[in-house]
Symmetry: C2
Subunit: 371 residues, 2 copies
């Protein structure tokens, strides 16, 4: 029976809801892979707290910390006093593909994302660099911290979601203070009226409902920078973690996912069309996508489709000849630094369930051909 609960925030009825409160959801693979630029109603939603209602007239962005000229900017200021740029950029949650890690060992209290915590949009806004230049960043500033207007509760405290990126990254032309998504004002659940877009980084660094930018010597001490979104070795558990020592996530690693066929599908005999997405981090290119149906003993190269955009995912496809019977299709991508993906999710398991970029595998069954 179909779940008749209406989908909030004008989202598509087919979204896979991973959590209702806060709302976390993403599109099923076949819809995700349908359009290079994800329509807003399909764009995945990752919330950690409330979706704040912000009055655009009263909204001000504060820029402070290690700056010579602290700023308080209205939306009109941002539109009138600064340049506007547009780019296509993919956002991916660090927890995308967590369910594969959960199948190895439970990961409590984390959103059970399958392969849908990723989407691609056309963003318009002010280059972060322009605002930082106007604020006259002081010598010694190394990180740019962001605070959101949402209300998150962690460790018995209430605060806005936050995080930071290195100043060097923030000065790149690709980092935006975005007020439009796919040609329309940001929808409430995607950060209205203003959000950070940090292409090439984990989605958590693209802070929504942005209230404050702080220039500082060290990374943000917000819970979601100093505590969550850290990668630990497989042997570490929540109880034994030294939170100072985890890898503070920033740039994304190389990944690839099969969207079609789907796991468990039964396919007619003949050529099988395999389609998916791949994403490289930090402005590196997806250079190649490999498919194997024999556990990596042999590979075939998929075709990259659609235009290349530096900060966007890459769609790919291939046609495989599969004999009748059971098959596992595995995919891996390579980036322009010749990095490729680890083979086995078990060997990169981590207790927070981040950055699972192991080979994505789909089991299918091919029917006997009619003779």
């Amino acid at each position: 029976m179909k779940d008749e609960t209406p989908m909030p925030f004008g989202k598509h009825a087919a979204l896979l809801v991973r959590e209702r409160q806060p709302f976390n959801a993403g599109p099923p693979p076949e819809l995700l892979r349908r359009a290079f630029v994800t329509p807003e109603e399909l764009f995945f939603v990752r919330n950690h707290g409330t979706v704040p209602e912000v009055d655009p007239a009263g909204y001000r962005l504060a820029v402070g910390g290690m700056v010579g000229r602290p700023l308080s900017l209205s939306l009109d200021d941002l539109r009138d006093r600064f340049p506007s740029v547009s780019l296509v950029a993919t956002l991916q949650c660090a927890g995308n593909r967590r369910t594969e890690l959960m199948a190895i060992e439970p990961i409590p209290k984390e959103a059970p994302w399958d392969t849908e915590a990723i989407s691609n949009a056309h963003w318009t806004g002010v280059p972060m660099r322009a605002v930082l230049e106007a604020a006259e960043v002081e010598e010694g500033a190394r990180h740019v911290a962001f605070d959101g207007l949402d209300d998150v509760e962690r460790q018995q405290r209430h605060f806005g979601f936050g995080g930071s990126i290195p100043l060097e990254k923030a000065l790149g032309p690709e980092v935006l203070l975005a007020y439009e998504m796919n040609g329309a004002p940001l929808p409430p659940t995607h950060g209205f009226p203003l959000r950070v877009v940090t292409p090439g980084y984990i989605g958590a660094r693209s802070v929504k409902w942005l209230s404050r930018i702080t220039l500082q010597a060290e990374p943000s001490d917000n819970y979601f920078q100093a505590h969550a979104y850290k990668l630990f070795p497989p042997q570490v558990r929540a109880e034994t973690a030294d939170w100072e020592r985890g890898l503070m996530l920033g740039e994304l690693s190389i990944t690839a996912v099969i969207c079609r066929p789907q796991a468990g599908e039964t396919l007619p005999a003949g050529q099988v069309l395999v389609q998916g997405y791949a994403l490289a981090g930090g402005g590196r290119r997806v250079e190649r996508v490999d498919l194997s149906t024999d556990g990596g003993a042999t590979w075939i190269t998929a075709e990259l489709v659609d235009e290349y955009h530096r900060w966007a995912w890459r769609f790919w496809e291939a046609r495989l000849e599969l004999a009748p019977g059971a098959h596992q299709i595995a995919v891996r991508a390579w980036d322009s630094a010749a990095n490729t993906q680890p083979e086995d999710a078990r060997k990169i398991w981590n207790f927070k369930g981040y950055m699972n970029n192991s080979w994505h595998r789909v089991e299918v069954h091919v029917e006997p051909s009619e003779r």
Copy 2:
């Protein structure tokens, strides 16, 4: 019996010589791991042709192509008219660890590097950016091509070794026109009087005996950019390669190597000190080094030693408790983009033998303890 042939170019007698003509050699692991900055007599040598004798008085560097102001610079010009900077940077050949790939399937006509085609030095020279600014790079230039004064023969033609890097990379503060190595003038075999140092990239992009810099819209058409130093999928062989389609190597991928103990060593009972190096590409950090003695089922985290330098390798060490008997020690590293290394060299095999960054493994035997 010891090989009594004297080592050329003032190099250390213990160097592992992989080819005599042209001279290609590197230090054994225990010497390589001894000093964070590799002494010149141990620094690995990768030559594709002659070692030219350059008269420094008559030497000129030409800068041309898509520039508003072509330049011809003497060594005095470079020292007097431009800033001088120093940095520590590691160079690694794309063919490092090729022997592990050769053990899977032969790779003819390529240098059989074990783990020694890597070294770290203190470089001094002019930031490439300063020279490019003086030459007034024109709109539309995207790549910076380099040509060397050596004499290389390939496909019945003689030419200087060459290659290129993207203009965006060349403008980074870390890319040097180096005239000093470890505080002394460049030795002849390392590029006297001037070489490129492109930290974070494969060694081939640090062209020695530099004669010419050309600004252009496309990558270099030199053999070593357009043909060699491309990464192909495992299923491709030299005979079937479409040379237009290989991944043109640039940034290095993440790697780690065990220098001590060495393969086949018999160790006394008790704690075993394991030491090695790790290197991340493109300015990413080595964030973590993991060791396993059970094929990756469990891991322990090694300690990173020495100071962090952005463009240098990272030395690491760990003490393992090993029971008497045979063991395989495996290592893998993680970079700041959460990229890690592939597990199995067989699955990344390529017919030119490049970029083997699979887990490095060393088999050792631990003696029974005395009771």
